[in-house]
């Protein structure tokens, strides 16, 4: 009996505001609160909330037979807490059903796996801790940013104890092989690989509402028909996609929600198909072959490589400059700096600098707040320059402190310095709310509505944004 494994990606970056060079050294707040909030509100209303509601209903209806998995980035979780706490709550309800698995990834959707192992591992730890705190379970299956994977990354993940990794069924890796089996890492045979079935996943994610597509309109009935027609010997069908496919990328009017509702019904009608979470698939099936992947693959573009993020000189320059700062970041204890450091790593910032933009205009501009990759790059570098100045100052001052006064609490200095421009709203912050504080620069209107909506349930959530020492 073939099983269907669905995993949905939930991610939102913290978009940067327009940051001019003359602000370097003067202004240290980088985020476009308005864009971030309005985007999050839009996606929450159009996609996350209605889709979660449907999933919850489906789970109620079919019990443990219907299952899905989510990978939610730390930045998305942070944004839920700031702008859409009800979304977080609805995910927690889903988590409580035990039919939903949450996957491991990096906290800030970073590309660190391509350059810095330590940062990569640290971000995984932070993310998983947050997931465990919010949803009660430690993830056992890993999904890297943009499904980036190669042997080396697989080795690191195996060392961390992950049982499996989700990645792309890239054609240049598979050749004649089918993505509908479980594979194993060639260098670490105990690490299993789940590969995305691109064609069927993209039929939903990209082609669903395309009226020029010869299969339009796509119904659940037809889709399940295709699945039934697949080779019966195959074990699994991995449907991986962005969660905002439902209601945002494919609008409500396209009937995507009806499709989602009808899909399990059609599946169960067949009596030959079931649903499983990634960890169940990994438990249940033996790998059919080892896969050796030398160069990193991803789920982007035709090439399925990392060129969408690191394909040109701008991206490489920004990326290398950023990671060159890591050692200095480690010397600092300023929680705001640490947070900015993470948010700076978001893959989206590098995506905005892609010159593939000029070729695949539409798809790239859909997600893109900048008019051109050059603008994106200049803005990013301006922010990075300011960040570097702060890091240097911080590293210097922490050096001095260590030398001069050991008995003083070393955090006092950066803390007071940082707080001065913000935190007029929340004065009763306790020390473990520093990270939160740093982001209270959201417009007062925003924070007001936020407070209103989350009044009753706020206590539980505030603690979750805790900075680490």
């Amino acid at each position: 009996m073939k099983t269907i494994c669905m995993y949905f990606q939930v991610h939102q970056p913290f978009r940067f505001r327009k940051y001019r060079f003359f602000e370097i050294g003067n202004e240290h707040y980088y985020y476009d609160d308005y864009a971030n909030e309005s985007f999050m509100r839009k996606v929450a209303t159009k996609s996350y909330l209605p889709a979660n509601k449907i999933l919850l209903e489906l789970i109620k209806e079919y019990g443990s037979r219907f299952k899905v998995a989510f990978s939610i980035s730390g930045t998305a979780l942070d944004q839920f807490e700031l702008y859409a706490p009800e979304v977080l709550e609805s995910f927690q309800k889903l988590a409580a059903t035990n039919s939903v698995e949450f996957l491991s990834e990096t906290y800030s959707h970073t590309l660190a796996s391509l350059i810095n192992k330590e940062e990569f591992l640290q971000q995984i730890a932070e993310h998983d801790e947050k997931i465990e705190k919010l949803f009660g379970k430690k993830p056992t299956v890993f999904r890297n940013t943009e499904l980036i994977y190669n042997n080396e990354i697989g080795d690191w993940l195996a060392d961390l104890g992950f049982k499996g990794v989700i990645t792309e069924g890239a054609r240049h890796i598979l050749g004649w092989k089918s993505p509908n089996y479980v594979y194993a890492s060639a260098t670490n045979p105990r690490l299993k690989l789940l590969l995305k079935n691109s064609r069927l996943s993209d039929d939903i994610a990209f082609r669903f509402s395309n009226q020029g597509w010869d299969q339009y309109p796509l119904t659940a009935d037809k889709f399940v028909g295709w699945i039934k027609a697949m080779d019966p010997k195959e074990d699994t069908l991995n449907l991986f996609m962005n969660y905002d496919t439902f209601g945002n990328i494919q609008p409500k009017e396209s009937g995507i929600f009806e499709f989602l509702k009808a899909f399990p019904k059609e599946v169960f009608k067949t009596n030959q198909l079931s649903f499983s979470t990634p960890s169940e698939v990994i438990e249940r099936f033996q790998p059919v072959a080892p896969l050796s992947i030398q160069y990193p693959i991803s789920w982007a573009d035709e090439e399925r490589d990392v060129s969408a993020w690191l394909g040109n000189e701008l991206q490489q320059e920004a990326f290398n400059k950023l990671f060159a700062l890591r050692n200095k970041v480690l010397q600092c204890n300023d929680p705001q700096l640490k947070l900015d450091w993470k948010y700076l790593q978001c893959s989206d910032h590098f995506y905005y600098m892609s010159t593939k933009f000029f070729i695949h205009g539409s798809l790239y501009s859909y997600f893109n707040p900048y008019n051109s990759p050059y603008e994106a790059f200049i803005n990013y570098m301006n922010i990075l320059s300011d960040f570097e100045i702060r890091i240097n100052q911080c590293a210097e001052s922490s050096d001095q402190m260590i030398i001069s006064a050991q008995e003083e609490k070393p955090e006092d200095k950066p803390k007071t310095k940082r707080v001065k421009s913000k935190s007029t709203v929340e004065t009763k912050d306790t020390s473990n709310e520093k990270t939160k504080q740093s982001r209270t620069r959201t417009s007062s209107r925003a924070s007001k509505t936020k407070e209103e909506t989350s009044k009753k349930k706020s206590t539980a959530k505030k603690i979750t944004v805790k900075s680490k020492k």
Binding site: R20, I24, E313, L314, E317, T355, S372, E375, N382
Partner: protein, 431 residues
């Protein structure tokens, strides 16, 4: 197919964008064996070769016709030079200033029989641009009688009346080519007489060619021309030969940011100054150069002095020929902050010299370039930011050098000419 083209400037006399565009387009058209161009140009300053001169019609205007073979042209070109004081890029006031020195010259009187009856046309009252345009039109109608052609093509408003006259005499279709409108030149404060001539030209034309969609929109919205009649054909740029590239050693270690163009309202020089001021507040090792001349120069010099950045902001005066390329070769950034630029060939030339460019979104060239930074002309913050970015983040220059050149090399006059040729054919076979 023969084209009677009323154009501007021919080597060695090219002095600006309009002449360059006419020359490039004609050269591109010469690659098509089925297109023959009779090129009519005004020659005002009497240094031309008049051995083949003859009087056209009954007027006493000298017309000098010759067949010339030009480098890069696939065919010989019939060049018709008309003795006229018309010069491109003029406005009525400026024209007066330029032509004042000829005031003593006896004015010609001529009569033409090509109109119904005899229209005596008497000059003699000193240079006036509008009279000169009319004179030119009358000569045009005479030329139209003498030559055999299928299509008329007129470049920019000074020759529209000539185009119209030729059309009235011959009944052949007219194409007017809009390289600029008075809305670009005046910043919206149009001269009603110029506007009238422009509008009439576009209305009488069977097809209007604009050099960008930016201009096309102006033609449609400001002049009320039906959109289906207006077609955009982008300009291109002559490939730069390796030998033409000049490399001079710069005498100073500083970075150089260049503005190159007429210092007039249309070109937005004041925004460049404000942006320079912002950049200079943040970094020292940079100098700004404003190359060109124009009626706003004094104002700009004053502003620069007032901001106290004169030691970092330099004026070169008008540059031509090799000096332009010399300027490019020492520039790190080229900025074109035009308020309304129908096309703008100079950024393409800068890119050919491997200089990264910042161009205003209010320009036609912004429609064809990907590898350039585009800003709103009024957004001096964005302009300053882009300048700073290019000077400080080396990956940008690398990218621009790598891809900008490729992109510009793809813009060929032959492509533009082929589109123009299609327009000719659409007019010939429309019935």
């Amino acid at each position: 197919m023969k084209v009677l083209m009323f154009g501007w400037e021919f080597p060695p006399h090219i002095s600006g964008g309009l002449g360059t565009a006419c020359y490039g387009l004609t050269k591109g058209l010469s690659k098509f064996s089925d297109v023959e161009v009779i090129f009519v140009v005004p020659r005002a300053f009497g240094d031309e070769d008049t051995t083949n001169a003859r009087i056209v019609g009954a007027s006493d205007v000298y017309v000098n016709q010759k067949r010339i073979a030009l480098k890069g042209f696939a065919q010989e070109l019939s060049l018709v030079e008309v003795d006229s004081l018309l010069v491109p890029y003029t406005e009525p006031d400026e024209f007066y200033r330029i032509t004042r020195k000829y005031a003593g010259r006896t004015w010609r009187t001529f009569t033409t029989q090509h109109f119904e009856g005899k229209i005596p046309f008497t000059g003699g009252y000193g240079p006036n641009l509008f009279e000169e345009i009319r004179n030119y039109a009358i000569v045009a109608s005479a030329i139209a009688c003498d030559y055999d052609f299928d299509v008329i093509h007129a470049h920019d408003w000074l020759t529209y009346p000539a185009g119209i006259a030729a059309k009235e005499i011959s009944g052949k279709p007219l194409v007017v080519h809009v390289h600029a409108t008075d809305f670009d030149r005046s910043g919206g404060n149009v001269n009603p007489r110029v506007f009238e001539i422009e509008k009439q030209g576009m209305e009488m034309a069977d097809k209007v060619i604009t050099v960008s969609n930016w201009t096309r929109d102006i033609v449609i919205s400001r002049y009320g021309i039906p959109p289906e009649k207006v077609i955009t054909v982008y300009n291109a740029v002559e490939p730069l030969e390796e030998a033409e590239k000049i490399n001079i050693r710069r005498g100073i270690p500083d970075k150089i940011v260049t503005f190159l163009g007429r210092i007039t309202m249309q070109k937005g020089p004041e925004y460049f100054v404000e942006a320079a001021n912002k950049v200079l507040k943040k970094m020292n090792n940079v100098r700004f150069v404003m190359a060109g001349s124009g009626d706003m120069m004094n104002k700009i010099i004053l502003r620069v002095a007032k901001l106290g950045i004169s030691n970092r902001f330099h004026f070169t005066g008008f540059l031509n020929g090799d000096d332009v390329y010399r300027m490019y070769s020492i520039s790190d950034v080229y900025v074109m902050p035009s308020i309304s630029e129908p096309f703008g060939i100079s950024p393409l030339e800068a890119i050919q010299s491997n200089v990264p460019v910042i161009i205003s979104k209010q320009s036609g060239v912004a429609e064809v370039l990907n590898h350039a930074i585009k800003i709103d002309f009024w957004d001096v913050d964005a302009m300053a930011d882009a300048i700073y970015g290019i000077l400080n983040y080396p990956a940008l220059s690398t990218m621009f050098k790598k891809y900008g050149r490729q992109e510009v090399d793809k813009l060929k006059w032959e492509t533009s000419a082929s589109e123009v040729r299609n327009i000719y054919y659409s007019l010939l076979y429309r019935n």
